[in-house]
Symmetry: C2
Subunit: 510 residues, 2 copies
């Protein structure tokens, strides 16, 4: 059996493998604060790349960034009933604004500093932003309002898992208000498409964009759309959502405008978000048994140069040779930006450095020893082709100048290779099922990656939908989404037998 850099493989224990990648790639760690993680430099660097690339797209579609309060008065939540139902169970509540010594040497919340109205730490900002919209919107001329916020939010989850489900997480939340339902609906779908293109282009994460069924809607939404990615264990990860809120929040928060005819109308609003969860998806789609593989577009460093230092006087020339390489790379471009090249001079053994960067998933690792330098060469390790067919590390001696000239194209190739691999896996593992028995049999098989089944259904609502959800729950399955742009339904609903109206995806999920 081939030896790999991690102590646990995906096949042996996918959940343990996931935690191991996070630790070994220095992405994040437990903080000591319940449910909250510390995002370490390599993990945060990926988030910064995500922010930069997604923010460019959010701005290019006409949105402006703002910042709204962390705290939301409890009364704001009482205005939209289904919204509060969805979040009340997992809210962190601030009740005091001062600490005081208790006389036994411990600090306690000061009973004399109790807030008149408790404040909720935002789980999402529809309510507080809706109040702002109500102030900003008077006339049709003020519409649309197109804003976005990068922020931390808190949802008190009982069972947490790093990046996927943490009490505090980082995200962007877009919020818009429009004069008509059609316009708001179009905005909802536009941002869904921005998310799809961003996930596929930047994270190399192939996704299925579609509408969530009624039971999976955002609390207070008229319609919720998602992009769903498939992890290597076949489970689905909802990687981004876009909500058409209709006039539900506008009614609750009184967002009204005078139309061109002078009549008062309710605005239609939307909201949409992508979070640090995306990094969990990146890990579970691109990671392998040697650690993470970061797509070049979101890699904090795309090329890492490791000089094989030996604490001898020759080290100086080697470092100079590597610095020239770094400078030359920084003048090249890949994927539309200057190449990001790091020279790693830390006081760590070279082979440990090599494996450290392999586990972190830097797209290209360059090793340079005295022999390489003498020959004008560098040794190139590509993270997407780590081993030769004989199982040995695939380190290719290449002329330094030739590598510099090829680096941009090589990074583009790696980006594409990661995407193609993930896309092929996604499509190979979405299979149609003609009836419920086929669904049941498929997921009973215990395949390592059971993937998703696509079924036709009649889109039941209310109690009928609840029955479907319960039936799925027994097999640990959930409805993911009804893909956009699907062919017309032509069969019977696998749940009710009634004529089907659309296709919907079924799978296990995070």
């Amino acid at each position: 059996m081939m030896k790999h850099a991690l102590s646990v493989t995906r096949e042996a224990d996918f959940a343990a493998w996931y935690q191991t990648v996070i630790t070994e790639a220095d992405l994040a760690e437990e903080s000591g604060v319940r449910g909250c993680m510390v995002i370490r430099p390599w993990g945060y660097g990926i988030w910064e790349r995500i922010q930069r690339l997604l923010d460019d797209r959010i701005k290019a579609t006409g949105h402006e960034n703002c910042y709204f309060p962390l705290f939301i008065p409890l009364s704001y939540f009482e205005e939209e009933a289904s919204h509060v139902d969805g979040f009340a169970k997992e809210m962190a509540v601030v009740t005091h604004h001062r600490l005081v010594a208790d006389g036994k040497g411990r600090l306690v919340p000061d009973p004399a500093a109790k807030l008149e109205e408790p404040l909720v730490v935002r789980p999402t900002s529809e309510t507080v932003i809706g109040h702002a919209f109500a102030r900003w919107v008077q006339s049709w001329r003020d519409l649309p309002v197109l804003i976005n916020q990068w922020a931390n939010v808190v949802r008190w989850e009982m069972r947490t898992r790093m990046f996927l489900r943490t009490a505090e997480f980082l995200w962007q939340e877009g919020h818009t208000a429009h004069a008509t339902a059609q316009e708001a609906q179009a905005e909802t779908l536009k941002m869904l498409e921005v998310y799809r293109e961003f996930a596929e282009t930047c994270i190399a994460l192939p996704v299925i964009a579609g509408e969530k069924p009624e039971n999976e809607r955002f609390p207070g939404a008229v319609a919720t759309y998602s992009i769903e990615a498939m992890m290597q264990d076949g489970k689905a990860l909802q990687a981004g959502t876009s909500h058409f809120l209709g006039t539900n929040f506008a009614k609750a928060q009184n967002i009204r405008f005078q139309n061109a005819e002078g009549q008062l109308e309710l605005a239609n609003t939307t909201s949409w978000g992508v979070s640090t969860r995306m990094i969990g998806g990146l890990i579970m789609v691109h990671g392998d048994d040697d650690g993470l593989r970061v797509p070049p577009r979101v890699a904090p460093w795309q090329v890492v140069i490791v000089p094989m230092l030996r604490d001898t006087p020759e080290d100086e020339a080697l470092v100079a040779y590597c610095k020239e390489l770094q400078a030359a790379l920084s003048r090249e471009s890949a994927l539309g930006e200057p190449v990001r090249a790091l020279l790693d001079l830390k006081a760590v053994k070279s082979t440990n450095k090599r494996w450290g960067w392999v586990k972190k998933g830097a797209p290209i690792v360059i090793e340079v020893g005295g022999r390489d330098m003498a020959a004008g060469n560098v040794s190139v390790i590509r993270r997407d082709r780590l081993y030769r067919e004989d199982g040995k590390l695939d380190s290719v001696a290449t002329a330094r100048d030739a590598f510099v000239a090829a680096a941009g194209a090589m990074l583009e190739e790696i980006q594409q290779a990661l995407f193609t691999q993930a896309r092929d896996r996604l499509h190979a593992n979405i299979t149609p099922a003609a009836d419920w028995a086929a669904v049941e049999a498929h997921f009973a098989e215990g395949a390592r990656n059971p993937g998703w089944r696509e079924v036709q259904w009649s889109r039941p609502t209310g109690a009928a939908l609840e029955a479907v959800v319960e039936k799925l729950k027994a097999l640990k399955l959930t409805l993911r989404n009804a893909p956009m742009d699907q062919p017309a339904a032509d069969g019977a609903c696998v749940f009710t037998g009634a004529p089907a109206v659309e296709r919907v995806l079924i799978g296990r999920s995070y």
Copy 2:
């Protein structure tokens, strides 16, 4: 008297003028949540520019960004006594993790969901980051640790003022750990210098860098340094601080390392921060009676193009002419970056747009009417030279191509002009005082801008310092800082009569 765009002048009421600029320039507004503001797109756009430019500098000096939890267990604060003394009175405390209906139709914190240990919303992160450092640092090889975080923090201020003092604010906080006190002290001063250079180069904000006196130290610090800026009313604004923490926090949080000789030592740590307060300083230094003036380096848009639309078929050609201008400007560069040019096509009257952008402080506003277009011209308004000598708006008809070619240089000129004006005012208003009587007389005068007085002092400590602080307080004065690189003291202390050891600045402050 000349008419200006704002309803209140700096001279008439500086505090009211400040609020008016914030409102009229669309920078921020009250949120409805006590002490928290909404930062609107133009204000947040300035913050994004500050983030980008300061972050580049923080990274260039070897620091990496991370993210640490918003919540800090109460017990962490009990570890460093003077630190908690400094913050306990203004902390937001989370005590519950769920809401529940109270039976009377209202939501209340669920008594069954009380936290075992209350969590504090971070007022600053030394304690929680110190805990992480303790995990990360084992050997001298792990040092230095150089990290930074962009985050929101909460300090429950009783009297708030937008940007200057808000319950929640945004900032960056750098935290580092070093093997020796000398190295940590050098880091503290290096970041002070990064702040000085950043403030002067990017915000055009001349500052005095120096050491704060003992009574103004950060709770738990061995030494605190600041950059102090002078507002147009002569008050000082502490615009950034850098703290040498010695081993105080390392002791409290057990940050120890094995040195090269195998012995266990305490690390020395530092912390340093700049916040959204900087925007308050920008307003009070560069604003005038027509609104804000944003230095080009931090202006979200440097050139705003306003076509004089008339709802006629000719509008189309005018917009096309302006789009060409926008595209041509985007190919030019200013201050090392591509020019940021906006074409304002909102459904707002052109003259309202002009004054809107003047109040927002866009460095250059370009108006284009049919006559301009026919002549191949544009009308150029520079925000730093808004009026001609006769008091009329200084709008200069310029050939479009000539303007494009000159735009980069013009923006650099505006950046420099704002800095020079502020620097001259700063230096003109720092004057030496030989004795206490001179200080007293000076601040009793009631000058619109009394500025600061520089005095020599013996740097008293403890009770003697408290006496000085009380004496100053009676005149609403505070000790600002002892400037770096000052000439040797050669007189007597104005407070104690003892031989002076250094010069220190005295002024009113925000």
